[in-house]
């Protein structure tokens, strides 16, 4: 067993557990995007940042890939963590504003602006589909290609892969293309429409079964 402090609480967890798993077990929420149970952690989105260590030696790490260490001090919601996380969300919004998953995360973390050059990417390179295809569907039909600016996900040589069984697993896990979110103020690129909803219309923090663009938004109706 490994002993560590998590947000000031002394805990002990099994060796090899990641910080994320430990925190979730003890009930501290950490948002994630590229993490999915059953797939190997990849650490692409950095949304799950936490702060470890203390004083000037404290650093930000991605909790989904970081295994617990003896005597470690973890803060899951320090000022620094929250600032970093909001920045990451802004960057995600800058590349993929049409993603409902990302818009929901933004609403949940009270991100109301996006200060970067707006792009309309359809992939955030989180690698969920690649891992899904390889680890759960045992196919390995898609993978990362190229590097840096030219990095993309797809099949080798961009032709239909002969190992792909069209299972749709990749689409199922994709946070960028599975549900499109149309935002009402494109130039701002932060929708937040659903965040305006308040009880009794809808239970707070239950954005996931709300498709605000499908029916007229209740909050907008109320404003009229």
């Amino acid at each position: 067993m490994i002993n560590l402090t998590l947000n000031g609480l002394s805990i002990s967890v099994e060796k090899g557990t990641t910080i994320l798993e430990a925190a979730r077990f003890y009930g501290f929420p950490i948002p994630t995007l590229c993490h999915k149970e059953g797939l190997t952690p990849y650490g692409a989105c950095r949304l799950c940042v936490v702060e470890i260590g203390k004083g000037p030696g404290a650093k930000l790490v991605s909790s989904c890939t970081y295994p617990v260490e003896e005597g470690m001090m973890v803060r899951t919601a320090s000022e620094r963590v929250l600032r970093a996380r909001r920045m990451i969300i802004e960057l995600l919004l800058a590349s993929c504003p049409q993603s409902k998953t990302i818009q929901d995360i933004a609403s949940r973390h009270n991100v109301r602006q996006q200060r970067f050059r707006q792009e309309h990417e359809d992939c955030i390179l989180c690698g969920l589909c690649v891992r899904m295809c390889k680890e759960q569907m045992m196919a390995g039909a898609i993978g990362f290609r190229g590097r840096g600016q030219n990095r993309s996900i797809g099949t080798p040589f961009d032709i239909r892969s002969d190992v792909c069984r069209l299972c749709g697993g990749c689409i199922e896990v994709c946070p960028a293309c599975q549900a499109r979110c149309t935002y009402n103020e494109p130039e701002k690129a932060v929708c937040g429409g659903c965040a305006n909803l308040s009880p009794p219309c809808i239970e707070k923090e239950q954005f996931h079964d709300m498709m605000c663009y499908m029916s007229p938004c209740v909050a907008c109706e109320a404003k009229k």
Partner: protein
């Protein structure tokens, strides 16, 4: 593309993930690029998925999926070279070769590339053509570099190059002379030894000029094959004292004078050679 050849390359290497790069490098060295069929073969033989192999092949700039020219000219656009006007050199190359960086001339002769620092910043602007460094390149020199690249950089002018000198050689074991005046190479008597390859021994003639690297063979040994060399007189294998500094294959020693040996790499195509002046014990 020759399937056998590629299978051979794969068989020679490990199959683990780390060996993929080595395999791809070797394939690229043979074909100047990575043909699609070769990648499929590598995936099949090593047991990795094609996506993994393709990912590696597209990740590194050193690999190309398109055929490249016989010669490769890389112009440095790193910081140091850039401030010394490397962009103008690139433009000049573009104009002369009528291709953009990353492209290959239609006759498949020359590929042009830009790189980010060759580690020789003091020489900037630096251009590397087929492994040869050209320092302080000016726009006027571009044409000359292209011309020299085309006519084989490897060819050394044996008349004027002062790195070249002639050595009379003999067998380190039986001390019989190996010089063969009847078959001159580079205008001088050649050095005659035997090479054991393809199941038999064949005569092999080397230039007696140190550094020339010219060879003549009656039955050519396949490229990259390491084969033992023999003395034609005593029929003994030439001793090996060193491993090749270029490729790590064993070298074979030829006697220059008592105790001093000229060693040559036994891998076909490798130009590794050295002069071993240590007191060598041949008994």
């Amino acid at each position: 593309m020759d399937t056998e050849n590629i299978l051979e390359i794969i068989k020679r290497s490990d199959k683990n993930r780390g060996a993929i790069i080595a395999i791809l490098e070797e394939i690229q060295a043979t074909y100047t690029y990575l043909p699609e069929a070769a990648l499929r073969l590598v995936a099949e033989e090593t047991g990795h998925s094609l996506t993994d192999i393709y990912g590696v092949a597209t990740f590194y700039k050193a690999f190309s999926l398109k055929p490249r020219g016989k010669h490769c000219i890389s112009v440095c656009l790193g910081t140091a070279c850039h401030v010394r006007g490397a962009q103008a050199i690139v433009d000049e190359f573009k104009y002369e070769l009528k291709i953009a960086p990353g492209g290959t001339t239609p006759d498949n002769e020359i590929s042009l590339e830009t790189v980010n620092c060759l580690g020789a910043c003091a020489l900037g602007p630096t251009v590397v053509a087929d492994g040869h460094y050209f320092p302080h390149v000016t726009k006027g020199e571009v044409r000359e570099i292209i011309a020299r690249t085309k006519e084989e950089m490897e060819k050394i002018n044996t008349e004027t190059d002062d790195r070249i000198f002639r050595l009379p050689l003999s067998c380190p074991l039986c001390k019989a002379s190996l010089m063969d005046p009847d078959h001159p190479l580079d205008g001088h008597p050649s050095v005659r030894i035997d090479v054991s390859a393809n199941g038999r021994k064949n005569p092999l003639r080397l230039s007696s000029l140190y550094g020339s690297g010219a060879v003549a063979m009656e039955d050519p040994v396949p490229l990259n094959q390491v084969s033992p060399l023999f003395c034609p007189h005593c029929d003994e294998e030439l001793p090996s004292f060193s491993i090749c500094p270029e490729c790590g294959s064993p070298m074979a020693a030829l006697l220059v004078r008592a105790g001093c040996a000229w060693e040559i790499c036994t891998r076909r195509g490798c130009r590794g050679h050295l002069l071993n002046l240590n007191q060598i014990n041949l008994s």
